[in-house]
């Protein structure tokens, strides 16, 4: 499984103001520039961070993407949505 295209999209939205603004304006058009499969596209467009987390997206990147799109004040909302998921850091350490 590769989720590199999703992470590249999240990286671009998180680090480029123009890409962030474009995603806020028309997420579908921005997502269309990346090689996402149907499942990935749905998770991205609907901001399903729980599923994206389980999918394997880097948690720092995922949180950064969420904050970039929804604003810094939305961080508590993000954390509420991923409260019971085990950290992949812990899983990889086993």
């Amino acid at each position: 499984m590769s989720y590199g295209a999703v992470e590249q999209l999240f990286y671009d939205v998180s680090t480029s103001r123009s890409r962030k603004d474009a995603f806020r304006e028309d997420a579908g058009e921005v997502a269309g520039k990346y090689a996402l499969n149907d499942t990935e596209r749905e998770m991205v467009l609907s901001m399903q961070v729980e599923k994206l987390f389980e999918y394997g997206i880097n948690p720092m990147l995922l949180m950064g993407f969420w904050i970039s799109v929804r604003g810094p004040q939305s961080m508590p909302d993000y954390l509420k949505r991923v409260p019971t998921l085990a950290s992949r850091l812990e899983a990889s350490a086993r």
Binding site: Q8, N58, P59, M60, L61, L89, S92
Partner: protein, 194 residues
């Protein structure tokens, strides 16, 4: 002969500066100043700061296991209230010496010839080191925030190599080491604030 004269570990959590809940934090910020005073008292001339990329600098297209910046520095590039994105004193000669020593020792470190650092390096450089240029910084990024992570044994060996490099360097440089990390080890997960 160059010498390691001190070492510090410290958090760089952006929330300490964004402070969304407006909590009292003066004692935390004062700790950075306290370290700066100790670095000055030690007569340090160089600082090697070890930090992690937070998926801010290196995109999914290139993820170095180890990276040493050998050129000019500025940062932090991420907006943090109270921490200006400003030039950071560097010493390309010293940084290049470390890179060459690493390569001779079996560590194929990546190199950045000019780098806008993120908060991992920028926070300690701007807050815990003198800003008059008397202490030049060498940033060392290690893959500890984005997979594939540096293996623990490899990180241990890398640290020993840096120690050997400093010990083998001619001159009388006085080096401090700074380990820069987060308060939380679960950034971006539901345990982030725990």
């Amino acid at each position: 002969m160059a010498k390691i004269v001190g070492g510090y570990t410290m958090p760089h959590d952006p929330l300490l500066f964004i402070n969304p809940q407006k909590k009292e934090r003066d004692h935390l910020l004062a700790a950075y100043s306290q370290i700066r005073g100790k670095v000055q008292a030690l007569g340090a001339t160089k600082a090697i700061i070890f930090g992690a990329d937070h998926y801010i600098l290196f995109s999914p297209r290139c993820l170095p296991q180890f990276l040493i910046a050998t050129g000019e520095l500025h940062g932090p590039i991420d907006r943090l209230p109270g921490v200006a994105n400003a030039p950071i004193a560097s010493d390309p000669g010293f940084a290049s010496y470390l890179v060459n020593y690493a390569h001779e020792s079996g560590f194929d470190v990546s190199v950045a010839r000019d780098l806008g650092v993120d908060h991992a390096i920028g926070v300690p450089a701007q807050l815990a080191l003198p800003t008059d240029g008397s202490v030049q910084t060498v940033p060392v990024y290690m893959a500890s925030g984005v997979e594939p992570y540096v293996r623990l044994q490899r990180a241990f060996d890398f640290g020993k190599m840096i120690g050997d490099a400093v010990a083998g360097m001619p001159g009388d440089e006085r080096v401090v080491l700074i380990g820069s990390g987060g308060i939380s080890h679960w950034v971006g997960t539901g345990r982030h604030a725990g």
